[in-house]
Symmetry: C2
Subunit: 476 residues, 2 copies
């Protein structure tokens, strides 16, 4: 069993650093452990308090008197080695060391303390995350050991990161985007467990279907490439790397105590390993969302379906800029599309309905273009759900309130049917819309795995990543 | 007086196409006119109804018997010329023609009808927007003639667009981003008023401090360049252009009946005109937000202030990628920064506090780096507002509820002070945060004109645009 399996799915957790002072970092973390739905045993360890946040506390780990799967240490740097040794003696074999002040700070003392905790771990055959990390989240057992509440759980995306901020602080952004997460791991200084270990673990997690990595340095490049090459046969990996400029590497030197290499070196490593490189964290999650939910395109031929010229033109433009194509449809397909659309429509690709409120036409058009074999994927703009747009008209026609419910139900059925089309044909769909996850117009579509973006650049970039992964997984 | 002045600020509006059937486009638009706070006279014109949506309707414009500033026509194509002629006879000199089916559709009939309405307008010295447009929004007189409710008014950004979708459908996106709009104009087929006219008008609107353009074609390139060159001496213009690929121009040909030129031609035109080109609509609004609210940098030297390594590294990396620099600070400045920060901080640039919860330090550091003269602008990551993060801890310590209020008030004061620093020093600040406009942590900062982005790429791109406009406005 991979060492991270137990660390990420502990049946019991001993916690150092929480107290009855709510303004301490450890207290915030324990409050999140207790408030996220984790059902394992939780043992706060505190030298003085007999209970912490209303649950029994223990003077030391020896006092717990039961086997414990995982220790989390949110403690002053100097006391970490001693406590870690106590953990080892008590039989704990997995730990998360939140504390900073190790290798990442100037001077010899931090480096010496980091060597000490590595030696202690070796002595007890203990594996640990950190130091200088922010904790973990596992949606599968509702365990959140970070300071940030309400991670958006339930998804199929895993994320391992050398930046703590990106694994926890990013939650509000993910939630606003309608992105759900399965597991996140903050690796900190990687004194023991590193990103490569995380990928090796996540590769065999059946609930995880796409992996994101935030990388400032790769400590074992050969092993990284080997593990990643194996992983990407089964699931896609997207990484961002930000060590390649002078200031970037000066910054990350201060951050994790590791020196980064130039961009080109990492581009080569990623290519060799089959890793898709994203520009930044937002683009990475755009890609992961699509990769974890949409079929892969067999090639780069794309249909654009729109009921409005501007977004249609923008999509066509950015699809071609991204190296994909928007082929003109055959006469046969154009005739079949023409039979469905109104007289003002243009059907050669982009399909521009110019104005259309009957959403069912979208589903029909999508089926026709997928069925034709003339495209490998499709983009759609123009989904409106009726009720969202009736704010002022309802004030004038109160009788519409009733109609709104019916429109909403009909729209919900349309969305469910639309989301089924890419699955049925094994071809990807990416939607462009200025409406978000909280809107009735597109929210249910997002929940059903269709990526929705307010920008043609983002939509096209994501389709490009789907094709890129297809080429990685199934090389010609 | 510019012809658009009256069109965008009418004292009275005659409206064709609204009825007591709420599912008609015209009815949706009139409901928005009536529901957005417009205080001018509104005259629905309807052949049969004596009242529409509870206000008196008129059988024809002749029946109104008072001067009317503006007509909006949401009517079947064939009847538009006749009604426009009636408007002319009744003395109306400004019109918005929503109706489609003109030059943008295949066949000769649409082109002929478009020629007819141009001739009618000429005959009466009438100026009009459209046909095939979606209407206007003017926050200054609360006039919204589009089908989309609740435009996010109150800002300093104006937007003129050849795509109707981008001027109206985009409202929910802008609202979610915390972006406010002053005026939007949908120009449709530009049979009369075109984008160049819009810019000429917006140039002299004192409330507008940045202009966005969505362009598929420029009909009068020489005039465009002349007007834009004059405009950008006073306020920045950002444009997106999506006609440059094969499918892109095929698409926009169907859309507005105009053929687009290659990207390079437009790049040249924009350069000559002093227009900043954005990649897509989301990036354009990122830039407009900053350009309408932040001082311009005198050069490209940037400070990065962070309390977390990952975002700090990402910012440094993308700032350099964007052609700006993150210079290492002098010993003198480093010493002054060192006196303010904790022992674990790195102060050479990026300034990495590693962990810091006292937000006031950010203000102090920002003042020190601006005061030093060693940078032209700054980026900041790490703003947290306390209360946002206390969800679970408050469940365990109910007495914290009271504290939350105090933390919130203190945080509000910090944000107000922080937002004042760029104004005081005349140097721009861009903030990176995963929290949005609806959060207590950064929402008030956004409202106060500091751009906040969840991505280093977006943050750096915006600073780049500020510098680009500085070079355009004040050429060396």
């Amino acid at each position: 069993m991979h060492p991270l399996k137990q660390l990420m799915n502990p049946k019991s957790l001993a916690f150092w650093g929480a107290s009855n002072n709510p303004m301490k970092m450890g207290s915030m973390q324990l409050a999140n452990v207790l408030g996220t739905g984790y059902e394992g045993e939780v043992y706060p360890i505190h030298p003085k308090e007999t209970s912490v946040m209303g649950i029994p506390a223990f003077g030391s780990i020896a006092d717990v008197g039961k086997p414990v799967d995982l220790a989390q240490l949110t403690l002053p740097t100097e006391v970490v080695p001693g406590i870690l040794d106590e953990c080892g003696r008590a039989g704990i074999r997995r730990a998360i060391v939140i504390s900073g002040g190790f290798k990442e700070v100037a001077g010899d003392r931090g480096k010496q303390l980091e060597r000490e905790i590595k030696e202690i771990a070796l002595k007890y055959d203990m594996r640990f995350l950190g130091p200088n990390c922010v904790g973990i989240f596992n949606s599968l057992c509702s365990l959140n050991t970070t300071t940030i509440h309400s991670p958006p759980g339930g998804g199929k995306i895993a994320f391992a990161s050398q930046s703590g901020a990106y694994t926890a602080m990013i939650n509000p952004y993910l939630r606003a985007q309608g992105i759900s997460i399965c597991q996140t791991l903050s690796v900190g200084n990687e004194a023991d467990i590193d990103l490569t270990d995380c990928v090796e673990y996540l590769k065999d997690e059946p609930e995880v279907s796409a992996i994101g990595l935030y990388i400032e340095t790769v400590r074992r490049p050969r092993e990284f490439a080997r593990v990643l090459r194996e992983t990407v046969k089964e699931k896609p990996v997207v990484a961002i790397y930000v060590g390649g400029t002078e200031a970037g590497s000066r910054s990350s030197l201060s951050h994790t105590g590791a020196l980064s290499g130039p961009d080109e070196v990492y581009d080569g490593l990623f290519r060799q390993a089959g890793v898709i490189r994203a520009e930044d964290i937002d683009q990475m999650f755009d890609m992961l969302r699509a990769l974890s939910s949409q079929p892969l395109p067999a090639g780069g031929r794309m249909a654009v379906i729109t009921n409005s010229g501007g977004p249609g033109s923008s999509l066509a433009y950015h699809i071609e800029k991204a190296g994909l194509s928007v082929p003109s449809f055959s006469d046969g397909l154009a005739a079949r599309l023409d039979a469905v659309t109104g007289p003002l429509a243009f059907v050669r690709n982009p399909i521009d309905l110019t104005f259309e409120t009957d959403m069912a036409i979208f589903t029909k058009l999508l089926e026709l273009v997928f069925e034709s074999g003339e495209v490998d994927g499709a983009f759609l703009y123009g989904i409106f759900g009726g009720p969202d747009f009736m704010v002022n008209i309802v004030k004038r026609f109160p009788e519409l309130e009733q109609l709104k419910g019916g429109l909403g139900a009909k729209h919900g059925q349309f969305l469910a049917k639309l989301a089924g089309v890419p699955r049925a044909f094994g071809k990807p769909l990416v939607v462009m819309s200025f409406l978000g996850p909280d809107s009735a117009s597109v929210g249910p579509l997002i929940d059903d795995g269709v990526p929705v973006f307010p920008s043609a650049v983002r939509a096209a970039g994501v389709m490009r990543a789907l094709l890129e992964y297809r080429h990685i997984r199934d090389p010609a």
